[in-house]
């Protein structure tokens, strides 16, 4: 009986793991099966638990996916991955959402396999009436405090704040359309994914804060029942992000210093330089704080649009990068070379170095800082490892 239980459990984990890596690669069942020299029906049966893979099939799949058999069949007893919160969820295709959710789960699996110890998870679910804007303001203030930010202090690095709250922050290659970010809980670990380059830093910061909002406000909430509920939750996460990045009193105080309280585009640019919040975002924030009327906000939005600031705003805000996973890796392996650390760590657990690089590489795609060695590693491991 014990043997049967173990076999079932391992198979269950293997099925989920195979499917997860396939989804990260964005391969269809047929495409993956073809690479592993098996029929699509067979792979489908394996993934759905109707069949247990033979040793040969497992080896074929491991080879196709770029992993050692040991990694695929390891017993880790990981907890489930929650439904993803996707910024601009309505625009997310299922394939993209699945790929990103699988990516987050796989990253957590690497962390468990490597025995890394994440920072303490401080994002316990917050209680209160989320339709009450005041309640969200209070929640944001509380989370700021947990992240070690003064009540009137600027969030100098939003990603670092997320990491201090215990989040694993993963880079996305780009926003891919309007998918600005994503968050899940996988095996209990809060995970944020955000575009690492090619976007204004203020948008990246807001996305991080928005996802922290989902994790803090909706951590234990049931999935939304309909579009209206989904959009209400998005609105709550936006309100949280605005309050997290710009606490009301301090923001108004800066406005007073910059322009004597008058809200002009120049004044907003000055406030942006202090707080790292987009000019457009500040208009919304000052409106919600009652500093300006809806009509004035509308007028300012039109002025922003007329100056074509909806595309590129003045006042540069640089994009941020996560630190915890990369630093844990290099400390663990004992090298500052991220590519080398990824290769050594993935070899130790039979994993894929390119996948590991994709979890920790925040360098600009065009800059090729880490990816030069990573590319060599990819070449060694064969084709089709769609980490990019």
């Amino acid at each position: 009986m014990a043997r049967q239980d173990r076999t079932f459990h391992v198979s269950d984990e293997v099925q989920a793991r195979l499917k997860r890596i396939r989804l990260v690669r964005r391969w269809t069942v047929a495409e993956c099966a073809g690479r592993a020299s098996m029929s699509a029906a067979t792979l489908s049966s394996i993934e759905s638990g109707k069949a247990v893979p033979s040793e040969d099939q497992l080896l074929g799949l491991a080879s196709a996916l770029g992993y050692e058999r040991a990694f695929l069949s390891a017993k880790r007893d990981l907890g489930p991955t929650s439904r993803p919160w996707l910024r601009a969820y309505a625009d997310a295709s299922k394939r993209e959402a699945d790929a990103r959710t699988a990516l987050a789960s796989l990253a957590v699996e690497y962390i468990r396999a490597l025995n890394f110890k994440p920072l303490p998870d401080l994002l316990g679910p917050l209680r209160g009436d989320l339709d009450d804007a005041e309640c969200i303001e209070e929640a944001a203030a509380e989370v700021r405090q947990l992240a070690g930010i003064e009540s009137d202090g600027v969030v100098l690095n939003a990603i670092r704040a997320g990491e201090r709250l215990g989040c694993l922050v993963l880079p996305l290659e780009s926003e891919m359309g309007r998918h600005l970010g994503m968050s899940v809980r996988s095996d209990g670990l809060p995970v944020l994914c955000v575009a690492k380059a090619g976007i204004p830093g203020d948008r990246q910061r807001f996305t991080v804060a928005h996802e922290i909002g989902h994790l803090a406000l909706h951590g234990d909430a049931a999935p939304p029942r309909d579009a209206a509920e989904s959009s209400a939750m998005e609105r709550q996460a936006n309100q949280f992000a605005a309050a997290f990045l710009g606490p009301g009193d301090a923001l108004v105080s800066t406005l007073e210093e910059v322009s004597g309280g008058r809200v002009t585009l120049t004044a907003l640019a000055g406030v942006k330089a202090v707080w790292g919040i987009s000019i457009k975002g500040l208009v919304g924030r000052f409106k919600s704080l009652g500093v300006i009327s809806a009509t004035q906000a509308e007028s300012l939005y039109k002025q922003i649009s007329a100056r074509r600031w909806t595309k590129v705003e003045p006042v540069e805000v640089r994009t941020e990068a996560a630190q915890w996973f990369q630093r844990s890796l290099t400390l663990d392996v004992g090298t500052d070379d991220v590519g080398q650390a990824c290769r050594a760590a993935s070899a130790r657990i039979g994993a894929n170095a390119s996948d590991l690089v994709s979890f920790v590489d925040w360098s600009d795609t065009n800059a090729e800082v880490v990816t030069l060695s990573a590319r060599r590693s990819r070449v060694k491991q064969g084709d089709g490892h769609a980490t990019r």
């Binding site: 025995n115 008058r262 009509t295 004035q296 630093r327």
Partner: protein
């Protein structure tokens, strides 16, 4: 036929002061033009034809009320318009605020319904006029011509031009302008947000990073 007056260029110090005036108006419009939109939305009286321009002119004149200087004066005109008057080196320059457009050749077009702008009679001294105001020996008539963004009713461009005559003999008169000076209306912005790389302190001594190590 061209009706011409005498010519003179704008001194640098006056240009700098005028840039200050333009910035004040530009930012004032950004902050307050919504009040016009609100008025037009809430009361049909303000949606009647030809009401937008006087409302905007009134707003600009009100914004100029914030100017206070011994070398700048604001005169309100009988038609609801206003003039910024500057004094420098014995010359009084009157800058009348006028809505402008561009013609098919890209030339600035400023019109006036009467030729009063061509007449530069001295204004009778007032009780609180600073002494410089009474020492002007020459009076020049200029326009401070602004074009508006149609969607926002904020400045698209602002130029000063000296009125040297009219292009035509009948109203509306198209003003003949010389010594055109363009002013910046896009606000200068601070360079960047100074974030921080902010270290997580995952030093080996703390044993963070690997569970076995701790």
């Amino acid at each position: 036929m061209l009706n011409r007056l005498a010519m003179n260029s704008l001194p640098a110090i006056v240009e700098r002061r005028l840039q200050g005036v333009v910035t004040l108006l530009d930012e004032g419009l950004q902050a307050r033009v919504h009040a016009i939109h609100e008025a037009r939305r809430t009361d049909r009286a303000f949606r009647r034809p030809f009401t937008a321009s006087p409302l905007l002119r009134a707003l600009l004149c009100d914004l100029l009320g914030d100017l206070g200087s011994s070398v700048v004066r604001v005169d309100e005109l009988g038609n609801g318009g206003c003039e910024v008057v500057m004094f420098d080196d014995g010359v009084e320059r009157r800058f009348r605020l006028k809505l402008a457009s561009r013609d098919q050749y890209g030339r600035l077009v400023v019109t006036a319904s009467s030729d009063s702008i061509l007449t530069t009679a001295p204004r009778p001294p007032e009780l609180f006029d600073p002494p410089e105001f009474n020492s002007a020996s020459t009076i020049e008539q200029w326009v401070l011509a602004y074009r508006l963004q149609s969607e926002t009713s904020t400045f698209m461009e602002v130029s000063a031009g000296r009125v040297v005559g009219t292009v035509n003999d009948r109203p509306p008169y198209r003003l003949l302008l010389d010594d055109l000076v363009a002013f910046a209306v896009t606000p200068p912005t601070p360079p960047s947000f100074r974030g921080s790389e902010d270290d997580l302190d995952l030093g080996e001594e703390e044993g963070l990073g690997n569970e076995e190590a701790s």
